[in-house]
């Protein structure tokens, strides 16, 4: 019984740790947004294309953060360790 509690507590901590992966996309998307702002400042007439490209880049950068979220969700709601 105690082992079960330890597994549950450790899973909760693990889910929290997995969400540290959110740092990466945050930095990456901020970088993409900043560069896009620079590009619009330099070339305002290409704003539509720049925003489109930036959104794609930001979405791809988001992937590793989403994987972290998936791991956290699995640990919290569909934990394989609890059997």
């Amino acid at each position: 019984m105690e082992g079960l509690f330890i597994i549950k507590a450790a899973s909760a901590i693990g889910a929290g740790l997995a969400m540290i992966a959110g740092i990466g996309p945050g930095i990456g998307q901020g970088f993409a947004g900043g560069k896009a702002a620079e590009a619009v400042g330099r070339q305002p007439e290409a704003q539509g294309d720049i925003i489109k490209t930036m959104l794609i880049g930001a979405a791809v950068a988001e992937t590793c953060g989403i994987f972290g979220l998936i791991v956290a969700l699995i640990l919290l709601f569909a934990n394989p360790l609890l059997g």
């Binding site: 294309d49 489109k52 959104l55 794609i56 979405a59 791809v60 988001e62 992937t63 989403i66 994987f67 979220l69 998936i70 969700l73 919290l76 709601f77």
Partner: protein
């Protein structure tokens, strides 16, 4: 926080919340697009509905033309259908439905459709020999990595849409669970959150999914 509810089982087939919500959304979308495409006129003054419908189709055609190239305009219809389905699914949180895209089955189905489209069109346009040669470039021992790369693409696309929508559903669920005791705040706080998760994120993710499909299909054809 639970997954989609299972309403009943018919001959081993589970009728889940996702399927029922998809039916509701299909009905709404059908009615809306039926109203938009009724009484189309080529001459004279078009009605308001026709102008809205034409704007949607023209915008999407321009996007397909500028992203995939003018020679691949035939994908416009599929891309518009995909985009509209995703938009309607994702914004369904506004009317209190659980978004069907917050279910791995839906997002992976769409991702696998994209995967099949990429490879089918790629083989058809460059030929099987050239297509197979892509896998041993630049060096033959990179073959496993190239194959792995092809399979991580639908995986990441499916997980991206699922993760974004599920994140929204979970946060909204937590907010509503925390607000049950507060009568007035309960009316105010969820409004901006709904606009962010069901409006902004939803539209953005449908755009991103469609855009990535277009980019990868075009890349597969042009390789």
């Amino acid at each position: 926080m639970n997954g989609p509810e299972i309403y009943c089982t018919i001959f081993g087939f589970e009728l889940t919340e996702t399927i029922v919500n998809t039916w509701i959304i299909m009905a709404i979308a059908f009615v809306i697009f039926y109203l938009l495409t009724r009484n189309l006129k080529a001459e004279g003054r078009p009605g308001k509905a026709q102008i809205i419908g034409e704007t949607i189709v023209t915008t999407m055609d321009n996007l397909v033309g500028s992203t995939m190239g003018k020679d691949k305009m035939r994908f416009g219809a599929y891309m518009l259908s995909l985009m509209m389905f995703l938009v309607f699914c994702n914004v369904s949180g506004f009317i209190g439905l659980r978004a069907p895209t917050a279910d791995l089955n839906v997002t992976f189905t769409l991702a696998i459709m994209t995967f099949c489209m990429i490879h089918f069109n790629s083989i058809r346009s460059v030929g099987l020999k050239h297509y197979a040669k892509e896998y041993i470039e630049p060096l033959p021992f990179l073959l496993p990595i190239n194959i792995l790369e092809q399979f991580t693409l639908p995986l990441s696309m499916g997980f991206r849409l699922f993760g974004n929508m599920t994140g929204g559903v979970i946060i909204m669920g937590l907010v509503y669970a925390g607000l049950t005791e507060m009568m007035f705040l309960g009316l105010v706080i969820p409004v901006p959150l709904h606009f962010y998760f069901d409006g902004f994120v939803a539209a953005l993710q449908s755009f991103v999914f469609t855009m990535l499909t277009m980019v990868f299909v075009a890349k597969g054809i042009d390789q």
